[in-house]
C-alpha cells in the first residue's frame, strides 16, 4: 500500500486561525491514493491544529478570545524567558491538537459541510510554521 509525505509552511503574524483546507485538498488531488487516511502534524509547541466551523468568520475571533481567557498572560508563570506570550502559547497548544487524522474517501477528505482545517497560531510575533502531511491508502 503506498504512502506519501509532504511538508507545507504557513507564515503567521500574531494570534490567528489560518485555514489551509484547500491547500490540503489540492495536495491530495495530485496523489494516486484515493481512499485512505490523511494525518497532519504540526512541528511546533506554540502553534497547533484545529478543525472548526468555516462559515462565520467571527467564530474564529470568539475562539481566539476564549483561549486568551483560558491562558491569559501574567506574572504567574515560571517560564517567561521567551516573552509573556510564550507560556500561554504552550498551554493553548496543549488544549488543542498537534495532529489531525481525516479519512479520505473517493479522493476527497471526509470533512463535514462546515468543517475547515486551521493552523492556530498562539504567538504574537511572525512565525513560519511547518505542517507535515502523511497520506496512506490505495
Amino acid at each position: 500500500m503506498p504512502h506519501q509525505t509532504h511538508t507545507i509552511t504557513i507564515t503567521t503574524n500574531g494570534p490567528s486561525l489560518t485555514e489551509f483546507t484547500r491547500e490540503t485538498a489540492n495536495w491530495i488531488g495530485t496523489q494516486a491514493i484515493t481512499a485512505g487516511l490523511l494525518t497532519l502534524f504540526c512541528r511546533h509547541t506554540s502553534a497547533s491544529l484545529l478543525i472548526q466551523e468555516n462559515a462565520a468568520p467571527e467564530v474564529q475571533d470568539d475562539l481566539i478570545a476564549a483561549f486568551q481567557r483560558f491562558a491569559p498572560e501574567g506574572p504567574h508563570y515560571l517560564h517567561d524567558s521567551e516573552g509573556p506570550d510564550d507560556m500561554p502559547a504552550h498551554i493553548k497548544a496543549a488544549l488543542t491538537q498537534t495532529h489531525l487524522s481525516i479519512p479520505v474517501v473517493d479522493g476527497r477528505l471526509a470533512l463535514g459541510t462546515w468543517q475547515g482545517i486551521y493552523l492556530f497560531e498562539h504567538r504574537r510575533q511572525a512565525h513560519q510554521r511547518q505542517i507535515v502531511m502523511h497520506l496512506t491508502g490505495d
Copy 2:
C-alpha cells in the same frame, strides 16, 4: 494491505455523552482485518469525540458540567446568530477531539479496562451526528 470505511449516525437530544464502544467493536468484528489501526472522525464542529471512564455514570455529568464552566453561554460572543449555545459548543469541540485513533490487536480495540468511546454533544437541540470509521491493517 486492506482498509475499510464505514459511517454511523448517532441521534442526540441535548448536551450528553453517548457511548458507542459496542457499535464500534461490532463493526470491527465483521471485518477481515484483525490487526491495525482504527480512526474515528466526527463530521461536526459542535459535537466531538472523547475516550473516557465507562464505569461511573456520574463522571459524564461532571464532564458536561466542567465543559459548561469552560464555555458558559453569555453576551460576550460575536457569533450568536445560531443561538446562545452555538459558540460555546464550538469552544467545547475545540477543547476535545474531532478524531480518535485506536490500535486494533487480535481483532479487538486496544482500549484499557475502563475506557469507553463517546460522542460528546454540545448543542441543546436534537441532532443527527455522523462518525466516519476507518480501519487499516491485516
Copy 3:
C-alpha cells in the same frame, strides 16, 4: 505493508510530565519500517499524552499548574468515590490527548526541534501506565 505493535509501561508518582521520546525513537530504530506513521495510545482515563516543549523544564511545572486551575479539586463533583483528585484527573485527560500520531520519515519521528513526547499523569498516587505503540509503513 507491514505494521508493528509494542506496549510500554511507565511508572508515575503523582502529577507530572514524563518524557518518553527516546524510548519511542529507540523502538522505531529496531523496526524495519523507515517511512510511515506512528500512533501512541494511552490505555487510561486519568493520565494522557502530550507533545510539548522539551527544552525548559519549568514549562512542565507551568503546564501542571495551568491544568490544576482548569480542574481544581473541590466539593462540586458528583463522582468522588475514588478520591478528590479522580474527577479532576478525568477532566484534565479530556482536555488533552489519549492518542498521538506522528509521521516517520527516513527512520525518524518527524518531530520539530523543540518537541518531546510526554505522559501526563493526573493522579496523586503511584501508577503503572500502559502506552500502546502502533507503527505502519514501509
